[in-house]
């Protein structure tokens, strides 16, 4: 149970990256499956070779960002469809990740990692590590929310919202997409590096289906929380990631095997996408919306009045 929460919080950083592309930039980026492993591979190989684990993890961020830039360039300068650009980078990264690691699996047993202090104090699997990881997530949320309210961050949001308009105000939407993809994949790789250190190895297959976990977190989180404010949406993503891990934990406890996890992920995403369209759940969602409006500022009803007037 606690391990599920720990994992969820680490994956939450990846999900925040997915949130940046899917929700903010409105760009379906599949690079994630490759860049997650790139982060794990980069950090692991650096750690094995004696680099400080913090430095190694930061390097993982930049390796992932580089992957994002490639996808961005393919899409904007190469005029390749966004989905395809992501797939191309993802496939290419498979070979690059093998090159980085030199083999399909890099064990981190006995190495000094970011998780070592937690392990040495016996904090792993306790609420202490949950608290520390939650703090890390909240810092990530705070940085992302701050960034999205800066001049450049607002230009990025408007690039996803109305590209034609923001070009007429002098913003290169191409550059914004490249920057957004870089940040997103940087976060994803950072998360991959932490996962490798948490589980004690990097593996070539660890990124497969990551995009689904990210999507599930974003969609599940936002089905439950309002998207009214960016900070709320970002926190919702973190909760979504934790809920996702808990569902997986529950499914495993109910007798499903580890090998069934990808199927569970896929089914979960399908459910999160389809259920809101079913009558009963739509009514339920509407009710939740109304109550959340009641507690938040009530300027939506006022809106209707103005329109009618």
């Amino acid at each position: 149970m606690i391990t599920a929460v720990e994992l969820g919080l680490i994956y939450a950083i990846m999900a925040l990256g997915v949130y940046l592309t899917f929700r903010i930039l409105d760009f379906p980026d599949l690079t994630v499956d490759g860049s997650f492993t790139t982060g794990a591979a980069t950090a692991s190989i650096l750690i094995v070779n004696g680099t400080n684990p913090l430095v190694a993890t930061v390097c993982a961020f930049f390796a992932g960002a580089a992957a994002g830039v490639i996808t961005g360039l393919l899409h904007t300068k190469g005029n390749i469809d966004g989905l395809l650009a992501g797939i191309l980078t993802m496939i290419g990264l498979y070979s690059i990740n093998l090159r980085i690691m030199g083999k399909a699996n890099v064990p981190l047993l006995g190495e000094d990692t970011l998780m070592s202090p937690l392990r040495a104090n016996g904090w792993l699997g306790s609420w202490v590590s949950v608290a520390l990881l939650l703090l890390l997530c909240l810092v990530a949320v705070a940085v992302i929310v701050w960034f999205l309210h800066t001049d450049v961050g607002m230009a990025m949001r408007s690039t996803g919202d109305n590209p034609e308009m923001i070009r007429s105000f002098g913003v290169s939407t191409d550059n914004q997409k490249i920057l957004g993809l870089a940040l997103s994949n940087g976060l994803v790789a950072f998360s991959g590096a932490l996962i490798a250190q948490f589980q004690g190895y990097a593996d070539i297959g660890m990124g497969i289906g990551i995009i689904l976990i990210g999507l599930a977190s974003v969609i599940v989180g936002q089905a439950i929380f309002s998207q009214r404010y960016i900070w709320l949406a970002a926190i919702a993503v973190v909760f979504g990631a934790v809920i996702y891990r808990l569902v997986i934990q529950f499914a495993l406890g109910a007798g499903l095997e580890v090998n069934d996890m990808k199927l569970i992920s896929a089914v979960l995403v399908v459910l999160a996408l389809v259920l809101p369209q079913v009558g009963v759940f739509r009514k339920l969602a509407a009710r939740i919306q109304i109550t959340s409006r009641g507690t938040a500022k009530a300027d939506a009803p006022e809106e209707e009045e103005k329109q009618n007037a």
Binding site: T150, D151, A155
Partner: protein, 263 residues
């Protein structure tokens, strides 16, 4: 301020659909000119506007803004000189962002966008002042998402955003065409006030002859990719909608005759 010389554009060249959209267009706007452009569908009005904006590139000819040749400059690079309001009221604003955020985006025109906070209290004061001039009460709703506003409100906001930084040229692309008569009148009034207040050099495309006569200091009529009538302020003041239609028929008729003769 704006200098268009010898502009040519052919769509789908070499195919059965080949269409000459512009034929050697020359047009010069002095500083402070407010030119209204009318003409039938396919006359080339929007093509001229899009070439000034950088959405289309000409086959030949030049576009100069304030002496600088921008013919081949990408749209977002020349955006520092140009304010634009689109026909679609939804096109000029970012719907999921708040009113103050949209204004902050507009205020960033021509500046380097970096990691400073987008909306600050100092900017907010400016926004309140500017929004108050619209007299729509939007200054009390800075944190409302623009997607919740009506079409007329959004178009008024678009106009304010386009002119917020005092661009060298304001481009209006049938910006009242998609609004109901009441809102169209409101946006027309705001257009006149804002252009006069900032003394903006303006190029406005419209389908509405009355509006074309009521607004601006000069009127241009286009047909078949050419400018067929260019009225100064004095001439424009004497002109009526009926007169314009008469001119149009006369020139169109003459052209058709020439063509028929050639064939």
């Amino acid at each position: 301020m704006l200098e268009i010389t010898n502009l040519n554009k052919t769509f789908f060249p070499g195919t059965v659909n080949e269409r000459k959209a512009l034929r050697e267009i020359d047009l010069t706007l002095a500083e402070g000119d407010f030119v209204t452009v009318i003409g039938s569908n396919g006359a080339g009005k929007s093509t001229v506007l899009n070439m000034v904006a950088g959405k289309l590139y000409p086959d030949s000819g030049n576009v100069r803004i304030d002496g600088q040749d921008v013919t081949k400059l990408a749209d977002f690079k020349r955006a520092k000189y140009l304010g634009r309001v689109f026909q679609d009221p939804m096109a000029g604003t970012a719907p999921s962002m708040t009113i103050e955020e949209n204004l902050a985006l507009a205020l960033g025109r021509g500046k380097v966008r970096a990691l400073a906070l987008g909306v600050t209290n100092r900017k907010r004061e400016l926004f309140v002042e500017e929004l108050a001039s619209l007299e729509l009460g939007l200054e009390k709703r800075l944190k409302t998402k623009v997607g919740l506003l009506s079409g007329g409100q959004r178009q008024a906001l678009s106009l304010l955003m386009a002119t917020l930084t005092g661009p060298k040229i304001l481009l209006l692309d049938e910006h009242t065409a998609a609004l109901d008569p009441q809102r169209a009148a409101l946006v027309t009034r705001l257009t006149r006030e804002i252009v006069e207040r900032h003394r903006l050099t303006t190029l406005m495309v419209t389908h509405n002859m009355e509006q074309a006569l009521a607004l601006g200091t000069r009127l241009i009529m286009m047909h078949d990719g050419q400018i067929i009538l260019d009225l100064s302020q004095a001439e424009k003041e004497k002109m009526t909608v009926k007169g314009l239609l008469g001119e149009f028929e006369k020139i169109k008729g003459a052209q058709l005759d020439d063509r028929t003769m050639l064939q």
